[in-house]
Symmetry: D2
């Protein structure tokens, strides 16, 4: 009579290497066997490691960030077989709660080294950096970025169902074409399947090898299933509608974020954490056809940190890059410029550019596409909630430089 | 004692051709003489034509949209000399109110023909189309898109100060380089200076000819001064901080919108209207250096139509285009896909794709940059406020086709 | 084709005495003849005087407030006959817009003299006082209360349909019983019908005399029809559902407010103004029975000044009065105490108590009933939006006394 | 380095009778010894029983509610000595989180029997009733009130510092005067000190007897310290400023609520639960004088379930009671009438009045004081968030009766 204590569908061990945990995997592949089964309509808790599987430590050096092994990245918990789910159905995921582990009340934001992962502004900021965030209930603050404190819009960075073999083949085809097209650029434009450090759950031997050869990396989101969308508003109370491509759905989740800004610009840019997500999973039969659905849809919950429209300071950027070159309706360039405008503004208070880069990545900033049709300029905006600062950042208040300390850098830069 | 009735700094005549009105202009150029002077700190009303200068009529044919003359586009009111403003200052524009004219309580949203202006989705939707919106106080509705009604987030599409000669030269240089680079593409990637139909305010003869040869088109926004940013949140109560590049600032404003969605995707995509804007102009001396400002900054007002975070249905899109091609972190492609996902969803209710294309352009939809760093996919989201519909669009409610009539098409398509 | 300019159903003349204007009245009575007819479903503009009919002037003396003639108070525009409305129907009033007159961009807030009207705190603050507010678009500020500026939540204080003869008789019966019960208290607990200065629209002679003898005063709201509810959230976009008691509904409206705080505590407590309201009137047949309606219901619009939950500083008050006496679950006493707590807090910045009393009456403060069941104490809260102040009022920021000038007092107090 | 796991300052045992737990108490008295010490600036978790100390069970009978022993009510956890706090200081309590116990994911709302506690509407609804609520992450729903689901605005009903001996004497004096004044009314207007079932923490013998004789009941809030304010917005992220009256502050907290409506009208009216509150306690020296503080002040957090202003259906009530009697500016009567208007409206959908009474008590309804000065009528409003219902309650949508089952009644009424 009445709700029982919620079942934990899969636990993780914070003190055991991720590759040794059977409930985890780090590739998308239909042949990875479910680690557990969840009933249609059941509410469960699922434990997750942080996206690096514990590679980053709570200290004041960014050496761990610089050296992070990306082949081991994005360990997901799952896959979970959902009873009665079939291809063409929609899996409704109700995110009822997300929490850090009681015993690990902290997370991290990193700037990856340009030679190992990079980030949205890596041309200008190529070095590794890190900020550790302490959690105080719903709030967080960082010794590496003083005078800032805000409530987390807590959410999972990644959730999705396994691709079918056909979809996986399509992914590999189109992404390898892109890699080929950019072969001469020297840029890492996509990551092909990578056998090194593949973790296929309980699979060993041939299947593990096959997953290594074919399995899609968990880094990007993809239209057919969602995956690593990094949507900051998928927070408590959200409903997410996911396409199902294999029998049982094979649902996985991971990469929990205490908070993130639109764009997650520094790549390791959210406040990354290990924790527990509570979800209710329900199957909507034939939902893909009925909803005309090709990509996930969601319905955010009613609970968000809200600052009021008048509490944002908003910056504008255009598709003219910082060398003065004009691009054609390029929202990506415009958003990069918008980020730079914020850095230029906030550095007046004494923050180092890397501190701001980290902050923009993880604070609940609003990144909007304003105009995309007035040739040749795309215009994007970035709204910074003023209430996250302990001082007044309005333009009409004189900016005073303060001692802002510094974020964690690599040991060679700190010396 | 007390505030007097607010002065109207410049009137327009809705019944007189725009080229005959001295208080208007349709190019950005430092040599266009001010049409009037405004005191530092003064509150004034400024009247504006719609962006086409009255080319579009309140009827049920999109012929006027198909035939719109873009060389005459974006008539701005101004420029206004602001007393004491000097290059390097910042002009603070407080938007106190925006209203349509009492005698013209309607506006329009158009899809331009792909061969004359086009729009964000013109590859798929190449034909001209139109919706007329009736204003009922703060609300609007359209006979061309039934079962939709919403409050306008009213704002100016364009405001900015005149460029200096140096900045203008820079604009022309970088935009012509872009045109050259795309010469073989057949695409209109930017619009060069155009002597035809130039309107330089009161200027005639040599100066008018010079403005025609050199003057920047008013279509795009540009980083150095803002211009046509089409930012839907620059509504009542907003403060905008604009860089000043010439003595007197030479401030202009126009292209009023009753409402707009993020991206203004159909190009003539807001609810375009003629009307009156009330602004307070103040000069912040040396503001550009003090604020570290390269592009405009703004602070939205506290008054916005608000739907609550739980009242949006949100769609996801990725940088894989509709032909299946993979693009590299391209937010523009991702946003186009996101728009298509909404069209696919809403057409289930009986709307024609063009009706949805128009609606997405002008309703207060939220277009966010979600993730921009997970190679190769950018992810964007588009939140549709569910409360603008007279029926329930939640996924869990069965979609029923209704008779939705149609929007205005060109006469050859209507027959 | 398309909406025409909206018809003004009734104009007022700001320069003509209210008693001479046939479209006004200042009593509720079924025998007051309609001044005009409105179609079912029609949108109209209705002009209104301020509630005193122009007795208060834009100057720096509160003599006019002290001497205000309350028998002439609350001139309403109407009544309007609404076609097809019958007793038992519900009149749906959609408030599409409320605006001050262009030529009179100011309003006033007054503290009435305790001997002529009084107010919620008149025991402690018995003197007349006044603040004049200048309107700047959606914002207002006052030379009498410096360092404060906010956006108006503009609304009508009074709207309702005429009572039937039976309902009017019931009003007079129960209110006279109350007057009798308090006869020895010396308090004015209700105002009986008053022939002096009655204004019954176009009626003269016998009917006017009857309205004088029987007509209900327009000062209080009443459950059967609404009337002077002074609900600050009945702003632009609201839908109000009003019971209909006489054929044609006989709808009236007036007492426009640029802004008001919950409770309107100083009685003349909103920012009172003359102006124009745009409404759409629709008849819902047999609505009272179908909605189980005894008193008006409303549905606020989506557009409000919004400060975010974290931008209020909130004060608590209990039903122990300032003499230390314990009252039984008395929310009225609790709210009075809550108001006093705010005055004590804000006077630290240099404001005079009367300035704060005026401010609390008209700024968009939130007055909530927190707890009403924990005998013997009712608890109420009052949330003050911190963003209306030009300085930081958070408790953790040291309070500094500033020169706050003063509000308008009566000439004998100013000397 | 970095935040450690948060210390639990006091645990409770859900399976042990409350009187046997030394960290609890159920009277306010300065002589109750602290159960633990908390450092100035420390963050701690504090576990709490539900307000009845576990008397109410998760079943379908309201017998436990009818028979609840109110002398054992409102067990608080504490008091806690806060280092360095002295009388005249202010204790800043930052509410960082509130959570139910993992193993008890449910709560209850009750209507007390009119003869044992009663409630705001007990004259009309004298019987005991109960609804059990299941928690699903941030949401709750009830088998006893179908078709309703909402996110909790979770908060503590009670928090405060111990009174000094002088303040306690004042409480007892004024409350006993009230009891005397109402002696002939037959009403329980306040609860005097009660030796039966007193629980004074670790105290025994003389001190316990003294606490029994003098200790203030924990039922009402009181202006000098707050106490049982039942303020629904004291949720996660709130800062509460509490007056300190004894050395060490002697802070206590309890009566956790998963959700509550303004007024908590059924008395046992929130969703009552046992759980854990995380707070940070800081001492502001001499804060009472510096802030001009007589009663607690608070600053809500930025995180609340938000429905948008346009998602409330709002009812009006006036100080004319349901017998037709006119009261003088009585907000308590007005709010009771407002509640009745909601019951009349919602019963059209098939809900029993008791179901609505329970729902109004615990759902996040907004109870506002609209007008308190227009003699003789006070006007209050009650806004019901429409999104908590699974069906559309807007007036324009026809109401259909559904099978709503019933709430739990006492066994004699269920038979």
């Amino acid at each position: 009579m009445g709700l029982k204590e919620i079942r934990t569908a899969m636990k993780v061990d914070l003190n055991k290497p991720a590759p040794e945990q059977k409930g985890l995997h780090n590739r998308w592949h239909p042949d990875i066997s479910p680690c557990a089964t969840i009933k249609n309509g059941e509410v469960v808790k699922i434990e997750c490691l942080d996206w690096t599987g514990g590679q980053i430590k709570n200290n004041d050096s960014a050496d761990d960030v610089r050296n992070v092994d990306l082949t081991r990245a994005h360990y997901l918990t799952g896959p979970f077989e959902v009873e009665s789910a079939q291809p063409g159905d929609v899996l409704l995921v109700e995110i009822q709660d997300v929490q850090p582990f009681q015993e690990q009340p902290w997370g991290f934001t990193g700037v990856l080294d340009a030679k190992n992962g990079g980030g949205f502004l890596d041309e200008l900021y190529p070095n590794a950096a890190k900020a550790i965030w302490d959690f105080e209930g719903i709030f967080c603050s960082s010794r590496h970025i003083p005078h800032v404190r805000f409530a987390g819009l807590i959410h999972p960075g990644i959730l999705g169902c396994a691709p079918s073999a056909e979809i996986l083949a399509e992914w590999n085809k189109r992404e390898s074409e892109l890699i080929t097209a950019y072969a001469d650029s020297g840029k890492v434009v996509a990551k092909p399947p990578e056998p090194a450090n593949v973790h296929a759950g309980s699979a060993e031997g041939d299947i593990k090898a096959k997953v290594g050869r074919e399995g899609a990396r968990t880094i990007p989101g993809r239209p057919e299933h969602g995956g690593n969308c990094d949507i900051k508003n998928l927070s408590r109370g959200s409903k997410v509608y996911l396409p199902v491509h294999v029998p049982g759905a094979n649902f996985s989740v991971g990469d929990l974020h205490f908070s993130q800004g639109d764009g997650e610009i520094s790549f390791c840019g959210a406040i990354e954490m290990a924790g527990i997500i509570t979800v209710k999973l329900s199957v909507i039969k034939s939902g893909m056809a009925e909803m005309g659905m090709k990509s996930p849809i969601f319905h955010p919950g009613p609970v968000e940190p809200q600052f009021g429209p008048g509490r944002y300071l908003t910056f504008e950027g255009f598709s003219v890059d910082h060398t003065g070159k004009q691009h054609y309706l390029d929202a990506t360039v415009a958003y990069r410029e918008t980020c730079l405008r914020v850095i230029e503004y906030l550095r007046r208070y004494g923050y180092d550019d890397y501190q701001i880069y980290l902050l923009l990545s993880c604070a609940p900033v609003q990144g909007h596409i304003a105009g995309l049709v007035d040739v040749p300029n795309a215009c994007t905006t970035l709204g910074v909630p003023m209430d996250i600062f302990g001082f007044d950042i309005r333009p009409e208040v004189e900016a005073k430089k303060m001692d802002m300390g510094k974020c964690a850098f690599t040991s060679d830069r700190m010396g």
